[in-house]
């Protein structure tokens, strides 16, 4: 066990942790709103709405994240000419953009499926009550269905966010220096493989439990009016 290597790498691990957390935070935030949209589309009766969202979630949930990442990062090169013409190549040539895009689409698909379960779990009485108050369409969704669905879906959504944090480790494969990337480069240089990978595993473990703690707090908050002993 080489403690010095771990201590020497700690500042780099800090930079890596910042990238990991940034990647997670940005894709979770964008993915959250997109997922609500996709889930609402998915529960619609019109095939024009539910079919695309079904295809999207099925593809992104049925294929490995690594394939999606390579498809966007390396695959975009096959359309370089076209992407340059529309002015998007400046984004697609950057690894961080491709990583964020992939992670966002991936988490959107998984979260949409979770939220769909939530939307379908909303008791019909609530919707009826909303209708009785004269709400319809967007207002009904915004005030009644989505808040209620999120409450139902929250525990499963917590899991998805944890998985996404772990999934960000894949961005190290396309040269980004997140936590895993730092460990890979540092261990290749120092040969301190297990020391560095154990350290990075420990850091991920801490991050995961921080996320679980925060999301449990949010869960308590959004369910506060439902708990018998209001605290």
């Amino acid at each position: 066990m080489d403690i010095d290597v771990i201590l020497d790498t700690l500042p780099k691990f800090w930079d890596g942790a910042v990238i990991t957390i940034e990647m997670t935070a940005i894709s979770v935030t964008i993915g959250f709103f997109l997922a609500i949209l996709v889930a609402v589309m998915r529960t619609s009766k019109s095939p024009l709405l539910w079919m695309p969202s079904y295809g999207f979630t099925f593809y992104f949930r049925g294929t490995p994240l690594l394939v999606q990442l390579f498809l966007i990062y390396y695959g975009s090169g096959q359309f370089q000419e076209f992407l340059s013409n529309v002015g998007l190549w400046t984004f697609f040539k950057e690894a961080w953009f491709c990583a964020l895009l992939t992670l966002t689409l991936n988490t959107t698909a998984y979260s949409a499926e979770i939220f769909r379960g939530g939307i379908q779990g909303v008791t019909f009485g609530e919707i009826e009550a909303g209708r009785a108050y004269g709400m319809s369409g967007v207002k009904l969704y915004r005030r009644i269905i989505i808040p209620s669905a999120l409450r139902i879906a929250w525990p499963a959504y917590t899991n998805e966010v944890v998985f996404l944090l772990q999934a960000t480790s894949l961005v190290s494969i396309i040269t980004l220096m997140d936590l895993t990337g730092v460990a890979r480069v540092a261990s290749a240089r120092t040969f301190a493989f297990y020391e560095l990978f154990l350290t990075v595993a420990l850091i991920y473990l801490v991050l995961v439990y921080v996320i679980i703690f925060v999301f449990k707090r949010i869960e308590r908050r959004i369910n506060a009016h439902l708990s018998s002993n209001a605290a």
Partner: protein
């Protein structure tokens, strides 16, 4: 030689798309569509690397099945430990699931593949021996994936064990069976029915996680697609077809899972 099975794959994909519009599986498109048609062909043509991808898919399935068997076994043992009265067993099973589920698969794979041999070497050095260990990627990959998904399977089994009605266990005890005999005769056989949906999910996630083994150079589907993409300079086509193969595995697994669930539920009354 290599091009022939590829053509079959191509016609399959292209033909599948056209069968919906035309009603027949194979037919030439009308003249005004021919140009578009050849564009699709050119896009999906892997220039002889199709067979490599199919071979990769076979290896992916092999790694998947081996890791799933390990995961099923480990999960069962860990679940029994978790429900055990002995503190040491339940605490160590708890530790196993908490730690493994909190660490990314990629980190664990790298830890085992690169860290494993160095640990052995360092320990051997302590005894004054010079040892060089080189892990086989197939072995390292399946064991690691199996070890990781064993932790997920543990939770599934645990839930399934708890879902068996208490009265059945009491009945077993009342008939004079020992605790272990109740587990073997009543708990285990009935638990499967509750475990199948969860274990099916574990398999779905596991088969996708095998793509990560490409990082340690095992020529499974993902690695083969990477090799093909580099040689023919069509990364999108290669990875897209690889993703369709993964999708195919997922669809087949879904069908199998539904069949298994139906079969496991055949003795249960439906209201």
């Amino acid at each position: 030689m290599q091009g022939i099975p590829l053509q079959a794959v191509l016609t399959f994909f292209v033909g599948a798309g056209h069968s919906r519009a035309g009603g027949r599986a194979f037919h030439l498109p009308p003249a005004h569509q021919t140009k578009e048609f050849f564009k699709v062909i050119e896009f999906l043509d892997l220039e002889g690397y199709g067979m490599l991808l199919l071979k990769g898919a076979r290896l992916t399935l092999a790694v998947g099945v081996v890791s799933m068997v390990i995961a099923l076994f480990l999960g069962l043992v860990a679940a029994l430990c978790k429900l055990s009265r002995f503190k040491l067993l339940s605490v160590s099973a708890e530790l196993y699931t908490t730690v493994i589920r909190g660490v990314p698969e990629l980190v664990l794979i790298l830890l085992v593949y690169y860290g494993g041999p160095t640990v052995v070497q360092d320990v051997a050095a302590l005894w004054g021996k010079d040892l060089y260990v080189d892990l086989n990627p197939f072995f390292a990959g399946s064991v690691t994936i199996g070890f990781i998904y064993g932790a997920f399977a543990t939770e599934v089994y645990r839930g399934a064990f708890l879902a068996v009605p208490k009265g059945e266990l009491e009945a077993g005890r009342a008939c004079g069976m020992s605790p272990w005999l109740t587990v073997r005769r009543i708990h285990l056989p009935q638990m499967w029915r509750f475990a199948i949906p969860g274990l099916g999910n574990v398999w779905m996630v596991l088969i996708k996680a095998t793509a990560l083994i490409s990082i340690i150079q095992l020529p499974e589907l993902m690695r083969s697609a990477d090799v093909a993409a580099r040689s023919i300079r069509k990364p999108f086509s290669c990875f897209f077809i690889a993703s369709l193969l993964y999708l195919g595995i997922t669809i087949l697994s879904l069908v199998f899972q539904q069949w298994a669930e139906k079969r496991a539920d055949r003795g249960v009354r439906r209201e």
